[in-house]
């Protein structure tokens, strides 16, 4: 019998390898061995509980990556790890949803993987470009931007509820 979605499973393990290797490398270069242990722990978490506790694993992974930046680890590697963890989260949800072999059509699986790859690649490129940019912002401008973010989020919420009828 065909497994739920072999392409999704392959993409999941590829993302897991990318996540673990980038964070291990980042923490290794910075000689932060406690961080290495946290990365191994979260990798194990993705393998053991990824399908059922995807959101918890994502939170732990993102916190691990963010802590790496604060502790002086390589920022591009940490961003790469965080992006891979987002991919892991999406693929873990897809694998959890594919309980029966016929749950996903091949076209749906292809579209999902392609869209995910494009979205994450764009996000990663934008994040790496943003790393090289140095912008100094004064406090009033930052406060104004924070308000603008809240307004945008509210507009987004209204927009989404309007689309869902």
């Amino acid at each position: 019998m065909r497994r739920a979605s072999p392409a999704t499973a392959a993409a999941f393990f590829a993302s897991l390898a990318l996540f673990a290797s980038s964070l291990v490398l980042g923490y290794g270069i910075a000689s932060r061995w406690l961080g290495e242990a946290a990365v191994l722990g979260s990798t194990l978490g993705w393998i053991l509980a990824g399908r059922r506790r995807a959101s918890l694993c994502l939170s732990i992974s993102v916190v691990t990556a963010a802590a790496g930046i604060l502790l002086g680890a390589s920022a591009p590697l940490m961003i790469l790890g965080a992006t891979a963890s987002l991919g892991l989260w999406d693929l873990a949800r897809a694998r959890a949803g594919a309980k029966s072999p016929e749950r996903y059509s091949r076209a749906y699986e292809r579209l999902r993987l392609r869209s995910l790859a494009i979205a994450l690649a764009c996000g990663l490129v934008l994040a790496l470009i943003a790393l090289s940019a140095r912008v100094t912002i004064r406090f009033p401008l930052m406060a104004a931007m924070a308000i603008a973010v809240f307004v945008c989020l509210d507009l987004l919420r209204r927009f989404l509820s309007g689309r869902q009828g």
Binding site: I79, L86, Y104, Y108, S115, C122, Q164
Partner: protein, 406 residues
């Protein structure tokens, strides 16, 4: 670090269609429109995107009560391009029932599953799964009354049958082939005509007790299902023999709610179809909880054909005596087939004193009730659900039942 997350969210928003952009149509087809019980039935749902945007849809079609999934999946994620189609296939089995679908559920959203619009797409279809029936051998019944139509029930009158009945004096108009020439030769001047046993049809009224309180479950088996199968088998046998048959269901719910499901008296295969359709819907409809549906009196006995042989299939309750009294007051010949609910439920799990006493009390009450019913000149057939019903019915129906006026 937040930019990949933002890009992911924006991609999801860009790929999710707005409510007004969605236009879907669906078509449901089943491998059969009617089927006997426990037959594998394939359902195919085809969804078509009538809109101008590619959409991702998770189509789900939950099983209706009484169905068991046998193959395939009940939900599927599809990508529907403009004008494109996608399908969902599954196979199910059911013991019996009338299954009516109206729509199929579709959740439209982005491929990541972050946004979702739930829709119901019209996809109507109906399928009737008729109860299984065992082909019973012919039983020669001895009803008190018959119909004035040729059939297979021997009567106590001479006529144009096949079995020899007696001799009588020749009357002008008798066909010459019925003259007994041998005896006529021995008695000169006296002509004798041979008469044959007249064979007619009988009126049979099947009354099935499908009241909720009479329903007994043992594991995944239901006593009602056994009763329905017995009723279906008897109906098939009687109609095959050319008898006129009607069916009344007490407390069955059925179509339309309150009223008792019924099939009015008729003959032949069309009537068998009607009866099986009626039995398929027994216990599946609404209105089984109404006060009326809790009594056997729900059956309109005055609608039974005059002098019909009434065969009641019921696990019986002490309050049902009045129903039998009414049947007998209308001069019906009555046979009660009473499945033993205690035997069906099987041995008690934990043999504790209160349970043993309760079972004894139930058995005693049942025996007393059956005894009282038998006193009304009702033939009682105590049916242990493990026994084949054919031999029991043959033993009771093929001998003349005693007549006692009440």
């Amino acid at each position: 670090m937040s930019l990949p997350f933002l890009a992911y969210l924006l991609a999801a928003l860009a790929l999710s269609p707005a409510h007004e952009d969605i236009s879907l149509s669906a078509r449901r087809s089943c491998s059969r429109s009617d089927a006997p019980g426990r037959t594998a039935i394939e359902v195919e749902l085809r969804l078509r995107n009538e809109g101008e945007r590619t959409i991702c849809a998770i189509v789900s079609d939950p099983l209706l009560p009484g169905m068991d999934l046998r193959s395939g999946s009940l939900s599927r994620a599809l990508v529907l391009r403009p004008g494109g189609e996608g399908e969902l296939r599954y196979g199910f089995e059911a013991a019996r029932g009338r299954f009516e679908w109206k729509r199929v559920d579709a959740a439209i959203g982005d491929p990541f599953g972050l946004t979702e619009i739930e829709l119901g797409v019209e996809a109507p279809a109906t399928i009737v799964v008729r109860p299984r029936l065992a082909k019973l051998r012919r039983v020669s019944i001895r009803p008190w009354m018959t119909l004035p139509a040729p059939g297979l029930v021997p009567t106590r009158a001479g006529g144009s049958g096949t079995d020899f009945f007696g001799l009588r004096e020749y009357r002008p108009g008798d066909p010459l082939k019925s003259l007994d020439w041998r005896r006529a030769a021995g008695r000169p001047g006296m002509l004798l005509t041979r008469e044959y046993v007249q064979e007619r049809t009988a009126d049979i009224a099947l009354i099935l007790d499908a009241r909720k309180q009479s329903e007994v479950l043992s594991g995944d088996r239901s006593l009602l299902e056994l009763e329905v199968e017995a009723a279906a088998s008897l109906a098939e046998m009687f109609l095959r023999q050319g008898q006129r048959l009607c069916l009344f269901v007490a407390g069955g719910g059925g179509t339309g709610g309150g009223g008792a499901p019924r099939a009015l008296p008729d003959y032949g295969t069309v009537q068998l179809r009607r009866v099986l359709d009626c039995l398929a819907a027994v216990g599946r409809g609404q209105g089984r909880d109404s006060a009326r549906a809790r009594r056997l009196d729900d059956v309109p006995v005055h609608h039974l054909p005059r002098g019909a042989l009434a065969i009641v299939i019921s696990p019986i309750e002490p309050d049902d005596l009045l129903f039998f009294r009414r049947l007998r007051a209308l001069a019906h010949q009555v046979l009660l087939i009473c499945p033993d609910a205690l035997d069906f439920a099987g041995p008690a799990g934990r043999e504790e004193w209160p349970e043993i006493q309760a079972r004894r009390a139930f058995a005693l009450e049942r025996r007393l009730t059956l005894g009282r019913i038998a006193q009304m000149s009702v033939s009682v057939l105590d049916w242990r659900p493990g026994q084949p019903i054919e031999s029991l019915v043959r033993a009771v129906l093929s001998r003349p039942m005693a007549v006692r006026r009440v």
